[in-house]
Every structure is written in structure tokens, then in C-alpha cells.
């Protein structure tokens, strides 16, 4: 199975994104994926320079894509899914980082057991206008499935609808008959049970999360 990971690198690192990229790369070095993969860097709103390729050069099979930044991270994800052929693509927003060794093995394992649907490291059961959803800072699915999602995200405000709105990716997947899954280091849970994940996003110290982002705790501390 051919697997690719996608990471969003906005604005050539301006505005704090360089430090977030360093955090992602640092965590990648600390927590190896456990299997080979392609690495897609979406240079969002900036060209893919030699410097960018240098920064991300430790990632295997590096592919740098240039995007105009429309739709921010989600627009970048959709570009990657359209552009790079593979069986499974993992999507990381700029604030994402890894928290467990062999995280990709866990992701692929879940994908192979449950089939072509939407997976995430964190879920939200929703309330009010926020529909139950897989959080889109760290999720994975086949690019073929994402490419069938009918809305092209081109404006920043569409991102929230994409993540947790009535026409969002999770709701759309469910309407396609797909069961979204939340996957941690210790097991897989259907989205409806995401609050029960031991050490998950809403439960305990979040020690079993595969990925983190700006809303996870404890804060990530680079070691040097």
C-alpha cells in the first residue's frame, strides 16, 4: 500500500509557522512513523524554495507542492489529494506534531481493518451548530475519497464548515455510508464514542493521542 503524509507550510514560515514546522520535524525525529511513506509539503502562499526543501529534507521521499494559499490548510489538503497518487494520505495542519512512536503503523492498521473511510487522531461529539466531527489538524483517508467531497475550499471561512459544519467532511462521509473512526495508540473508537478514548482528546492526560496540535495538552516542549 502506498502511503503519503501531507504537511502544510504556510507563508514560507512567516508568522510563527517556521517554529511550528520545527516542532513537527522535531517530533517526527523523536517518534518515527514505523514504515516508509512519501512526504508532501504544501508550500501555502509561497514558492517551494531550496531553503524549504532543506528544512524538510529529513523527511523521506520529499515532494514539495506550491499552492496559492486559497482555503488555507484545507485547500492545501485538497490540492495534495488531487496531485499525488497513493492509497492512503495523512493530513497534518501546520500546528500538528507527533506524540507516539509508530504512529503511521497505527493509522495504516486501522485503515486496513476498517476500510476506506475517514480517520482522525481526535474527534468531537459536537454541540449546537458544531456537528460531530473528526478534527482536521490530523486525519487520514484515501485521497480518492477526499476527492469525491463535493466542495472545493477556497476561502478561509469555509474551513470551519469543512471541519465541523453541516456540510463538512465528517457529515458528508457519514452520508456516504462511511463510519468515521478515532484512532489512538491503544485502540480504535467510532466517532460517537470519541469521548471515551482512554487518554484521548477529551479524557485524561491525552497520553494516547497519536498527534497533537495547539489545543492539546500538555504543551509541547522542544528539548533543546
Amino acid at each position: 500500500m502506498k502511503v503519503a503524509i501531507t504537511y502544510i507550510y504556510p507563508n514560507a514560515g512567516e508568522g510563527g509557522y517556521f517554529d511550528l514546522a520545527v516542532r513537527f520535524l522535531d517530533s517526527y525525529g523523536k517518534f518515527p512513523p514505523g514504515m516508509d511513506h512519501d512526504s508532501i509539503i504544501v508550500c501555502n502562499g509561497s514558492p517551494a524554495t531550496d531553503e524549504t526543501k532543506f528544512y524538510f529534507g529529513s523527511l523521506p521521499n520529499l515532494i514539495c507542492l506550491e499552492h496559492d494559499g486559497s482555503g488555507y490548510d484545507i485547500g492545501g489538503f485538497q490540492l495534495a489529494a488531487r496531485t499525488v497518487p497513493c492509497d492512503l494520505m495523512v493530513f497534518f495542519g501546520s500546528t500538528a506534531y507527533l506524540r507516539q512512536p509508530n504512529w503511521l503503523v497505527r493509522m495504516v492498521d486501522a485503515f486496513q481493518r476498517h476500510g476506506d473511510t475517514l480517520y482522525g487522531a481526535m474527534g468531537n461529539q459536537g454541540v449546537g451548530d458544531i456537528y460531530p466531527h473528526i478534527r482536521t489538524t490530523g486525519f487520514w483517508m484515501s485521497p480518492a475519497l477526499l476527492n469525491r467531497y463535493p466542495i472545493q475550499v477556497t476561502r478561509p471561512e469555509q474551513r470551519y464548515e469543512f471541519e465541523h459544519g453541516r456540510s463538512g467532511l465528517t457529515t458528508w462521509a457519514i452520508q456516504q455510508g462511511k463510519q468515521p473512526w478515532v484512532v489512538s495508540a491503544v485502540g480504535d473508537w467510532v466517532l460517537q464514542s470519541c469521548n471515551s478514548v482512554p487518554g484521548g482528546y477529551h479524557n485524561g492526560n491525552q497520553e494516547n493521542l497519536l498527534t497533537g496540535d495547539r489545543l492539546t495538552r500538555p504543551p509541547y516542549h522542544p528539548c533543546d
Binding site: 514560507a12 520545527v22 531553503e51 528544512y55 533543546d224
Partner: protein
């Protein structure tokens, strides 16, 4: 000219920084710095005294030890060194620096003497702001002492590549930050991504998995 090399050896996480220190010492010995007289000062960051373990990490390299409370981590240690060490040229090495070719100090001094007081480094980048990487750089200690902020744990990245970085601050003072390779010395407009052979020394980023 009196030259001090300060190497930061964090006392936390010895599984990481112990081997890094050993690599620094081993590659230093295997790739001698050159003819310029100098001293190597190891800053034990976050430690409370040095004993046989620390000495053994660097043997047989002749080093002296100083201590810092780890505030500001590597950058805090560099600033503390600039305050306490008396020298004309201060070489600042983070914990992941190591060497691959002899004569690296002679090359640093050669460019320093040719171009005069300024900030020098092995790697110059334009993203996210123009900066010389601060895992390995050299300058007159007065320049580092004059930096207007004592760096804390949360300011280190700003010191390296933020809008108030040591690079841009030095430039505003009229010093031209220079990227130095084995074959050239480049002002900011000419900075470029170097290959392994051109790099004066390596660190955890430029370790053969990046940069070709």
C-alpha cells in the same frame, strides 16, 4: 587574538546530550581546529557541578567547565559566556555541533580577520526572516553582550530567526552578517543553501539527511 569556544552541554536528558558531547569531542580530535590558539569552555547547562561523568565525556580534549542555570537554554548559555569570558572572538557551539574536516577554526578566524568584527555563521537562511543559524556562530563577545534582551526559554527562536534576531539586530548596527563556507564568505544577499562539503561543521539539521 584570544579565542574562546563555548560548547553547551545540557545536563538534562543525558541519553541525548551525552552522546552529542562525545561526538563533539571525538570529531574535534579527529578534525583538529587548526593553528590558532584557543580554549574550549564547556557550559554545563542546568547542572550542579561537574564530576567524572562530565570530564569523561570530553576526554582527552582539554576543556574547562562553567555552569549556567539553563535559563534561555543554549542561547542563555552563550549570553552568559559572553558576559563572563574575556576574549576577542567568541565561538558559540550548541550541543549538536560536530566536525567533518580539519582546520575549521582557522577558516573562521581567517574570515573574521579579513572582514572585521561582525556576526558569522555557517548557515544563512532567508526564511522565515533572514538569519544565521545559532547552533554555531562566532562574533566579538561585545556584540553579543550588547544584544538588548536576556533570552529566556521562550525567546530562543526569536533570537535566531525572529524580527529582532541577533542577525538583524547586528545588521541594524552596521555589521554585515556573513555566511562562511570552506570556499567563500557571503553577505546576506548571497546566502545560499550549502552542500555537505561546503559546510564548515554539522549539526542535527545539517547532518547528512538534509542539504545533499
Amino acid at each position: 587574538m584570544r579565542i574562546c569556544i563555548v560548547y553547551v552541554c545540557p545536563q538534562i536528558n543525558p541519553d541525548v546530550y551525552g552522546p552529542a558531547a562525545r561526538r563533539f569531542a571525538d570529531t574535534y580530535i579527529a578534525n583538529p581546529p587548526g593553528l590558532n590558539d584557543h580554549e574550549v569552555v564547556v557550559c554545563l547547562n542546568g547542572g550542579n557541578g561537574h564530576g567524572p561523568y562530565q570530564r569523561k565525556l570530553f576526554e582527552p580534549l582539554p576543556v574547562t567547565f562553567v555552569e549556567h542555570n539553563n535559563w534561555g537554554k543554549d542561547i542563555g548559555a552563550f549570553q552568559a559566556a559572553a558576559q563572563s569570558l574575556t576574549c576577542d572572538l567568541l565561538v558559540c557551539f550548541g550541543s549538536h555541533i560536530y566536525f567533518h574536516r580539519a582546520g575549521w577554526l582557522d577558516r573562521m578566524v581567517q574570515v573574521f580577520e579579513s572582514n572585521g568584527p561582525s556576526l558569522y555563521g555557517a548557515w544563512g537562511f532567508h526564511q522565515p526572516k533572514p538569519h544565521l543559524r545559532t547552533t554555531g556562530f562566532w562574533l566579538p563577545p561585545e556584540l553579543l553582550r550588547g544584544y538588548p534582551k536576556t533570552i529566556g526559554d521562550r525567546d530562543r527562536y526569536g533570537f535566531e530567526h525572529g524580527p529582532e534576531s541577533i542577525t538583524l539586530w547586528s545588521q541594524r548596527l552596521g555589521f554585515e552578517p556573513m555566511q562562511v563556507t570552506w570556499d567563500g564568505a557571503y553577505p546576506m544577499p548571497d546566502w545560499r543553501v550549502v552542500n555537505r562539503a561546503e559546510s564548515l561543521f554539522y549539526d542535527q539539521w545539517f547532518d547528512g539527511t538534509r542539504g545533499g
